[in-house]
């Protein structure tokens, strides 16, 4: 049913091929085939493969990558995914690609819809970043790479804080929280929003320690008043205190952003995870109903 045409990527546990879905001798569409190397993981089938299979089988949404099929070939697990030729990181980094505020709004809207769909199914993505937001030929943005995803845990379960790529990691993760929530995904989207507006990474820490400093220097160190019990984190006492940026400072940094855009970004980047906006509040933000309208996906760069 599928042919592997060209290797397009390789990681520790998987090789990705560009392939084609066949119907008899007629080519139906391009697909990406992720071949999981089953022998590389000493504990049997790799956890990230299990997660991708588990969650993508349950999530069907225009803004979540489609798992087309799964098959076994010579003892290797092959995930057939829809082919998505570009990602947001490529778009941001390529200075020859010009995009507008309407384009940013469109991408953000699609990303938030995908995240909302995950969250209403009680699934955390835990690795949102520009190169995991893939772009289809029709312009639709899709959440991809569910290798770190998991269901929202039972209350007594402890989670690892070693999730999300460093620059997109929420402050509670930086502090080592073990009972975090969907708020970590919203933080990541907030950082991506900032990056879309700036076209450079917004909070690029050099290492895990530096990430805390970079984050608080940009957004202010959280206090007990703003974030109850934040001082209970063991690493809290070792951090420097920075003031939160004023609205004026944010306006100067994000020159082209409207007030509603800044409100939304600030809501997604609230330090206190209790106060941070959820996906519904983000989607209902005035930002999405003010001009300019979000670009039609088919018209996006």
């Amino acid at each position: 049913l599928y042919s592997k045409e060209k290797k397009v990527g390789e990681g520790t546990f998987a090789i990705v091929y560009l392939g084609r879905q066949l119907e008899g001798t007629t080519v139906k569409r391009n697909v990406a085939i992720k071949e999981i190397k089953t022998s590389e993981f000493k504990d049997g089938l790799d956890m990230s493969a299990i997660r991708e299979v588990k969650y993508l089988q349950e999530l069907k949404h225009v803004n979540v990558i489609e798992l087309v099929d799964i098959y076994n070939e010579k003892g290797n697990l092959n995930l057939v995914l829809e082919f998505l030729p570009a990602d947001l990181e490529m778009i941001i980094k390529d200075s020859s690609i010009l995009f507008t505020q309407a384009d940013i709004k469109s991408w953000l809207l699609m990303a938030l819809r995908g995240v909302h769909h995950c969250h209403r199914n009680f699934i955390l993505h835990r690795d949102l970043k520009p190169n995991n937001l893939l772009l289809a030929p029709d312009g639709q943005l899709k959440l991809a790479d569910f290798g770190l995803a998991r269901s929202i845990p039972s209350p007594q379960e402890q989670l690892t804080s070693n999730v999300v790529t460093r620059w997109y990691r929420a402050p509670e993760l930086l502090f080592g929280a073990k009972h975090y929530t969907w708020a970590v995904d919203i933080w990541s989207i907030g950082v991506i929003f900032a990056e879309l507006m700036l076209r450079i990474p917004y909070l690029p820490g050099k290492d895990d320690i530096d990430q805390i400093d970079v984050t608080f220097r940009a957004l202010g160190t959280p206090t007990e008043k703003l974030w109850p019990e934040v001082s209970s984190f063991p690493t809290y006492n070792k951090i420097k205190m920075y003031p939160a940026p004023s609205r004026d400072e944010l306006r100067k940094r994000f020159i082209a952003a409207t007030e509603n855009a800044l409100n939304l970004m600030s809501g997604m980047l609230l330090m206190n995870p209790h106060a941070r906006w959820d996906s519904v509040k983000c989607l209902q933000s005035d930002y999405f109903t003010e001009l300019p309208e979000p670009t039609e996906p088919s018209q996006l760069p």
Binding site: K42, D43, Q57
Partner: protein, 269 residues
């Protein structure tokens, strides 16, 4: 739930499930008989008449009902062993579901349930984010690593690559909360706590029945609640789904729900 793989792929009517089991059993029984005949033909000169008769009399493939008995027995053993290992409730439930689903697609005559026992437990741990390294797991269950890992892939295929399970425990917790609000001040909370615990034990037992294929998790939960305290359950449902003027001449939601959960209760018992 309607978009979940549990509904789309693992829900059956009773007739569909029976037919599925019988078809599998029949197909594999035919293969087993073929193998036996081939064996007898190839070894005719080496076997005595007595031995040939013994084989013909005793090497009989198990039928669908017997297979189900064996599967249920081993599913129960998985529960007991999982509890002995102090695995979380949902991990044990997932292991049981994996095991049962696997044997809807594969006959016990093709792979002995003993072979899949620890594989299902280990894989359930991984799937439910309760990761135990293979070395540690193998040492706890006192089995060689290879014996646990060798069928992992086959298990995944047998599960049709669907790993999400909706167990009835969360639904029980949900009803525990909703009953408090709906029947506010009419139910003693300590008593409700005891009902919750008893229902949870019944839900553990329900995993060994066929109800997981025929009913949704909340329906199973309500059936168990009906068994535990019929008056409480019916009172809750009456208040929850009151008769309206529109429904006075037709079957209301209350009647529909009660009908389904009584059927489920009967199947559970």
């Amino acid at each position: 739930f309607r978009s979940s793989s549990q509904y789309r792929i693992w829900s059956f009517t009773k007739e569909q499930l029976k037919e599925k089991r019988e078809q599998l059993s029949s197909k594999v029984s035919a293969l087993v008989r073929e193998k036996i005949e081939r064996f007898l033909a190839e070894n005719n000169s080496q076997l005595s008449n007595e031995e040939i008769n013994e084989i013909r009399n005793k090497a009989i493939p198990v039928n669908a009902a017997e297979e189900l008995q064996l599967i249920t027995l081993y599913a129960q053993k998985i529960q007991l062993f999982g509890n002995k290992l102090r695995l979380p409730t949902e991990v044990v439930a997932t292991a049981v579901c994996f095991f049962k689903k696997f044997y809807l697609e594969t006959s016990v005559m093709e792979i002995h349930p003993k072979e899949m026992f620890f594989t299902c437990l280990f894989f359930a741990c991984k799937s439910e984010n309760y990761f135990i390294g293979i070395d540690s797991f193998a040492s706890k269950v006192k089995k060689p690593k290879d014996s646990i890992l060798k069928h992992e892939f086959r298990l995944l295929e047998g599960l049709k690559f669907t790993l999400m399970n909706h167990h009835p425990y969360k639904a029980l917790h949900g009803f525990f909360l909703d009953i408090q609000m709906v029947l506010m001040k009419k139910v003693d909370l300590n008593y409700l706590g005891k009902v919750y615990e008893n229902c949870k034990n019944m839900l553990n037992a329900s995993l060994l029945t066929e109800t997981m294929y025929h009913y949704t998790p909340p329906q199973i939960t309500l059936a168990v609640l009906l068994t535990e305290d019929e008056a409480l359950c019916l009172k809750y449902l009456e208040v929850k789904f009151p008769k309206t003027a529109e429904s006075s001449n037709s079957v209301g939601l209350y009647e529909k729900v009660v009908k389904i959960i009584r059927e489920c209760q009967k199947d559970l018992s």
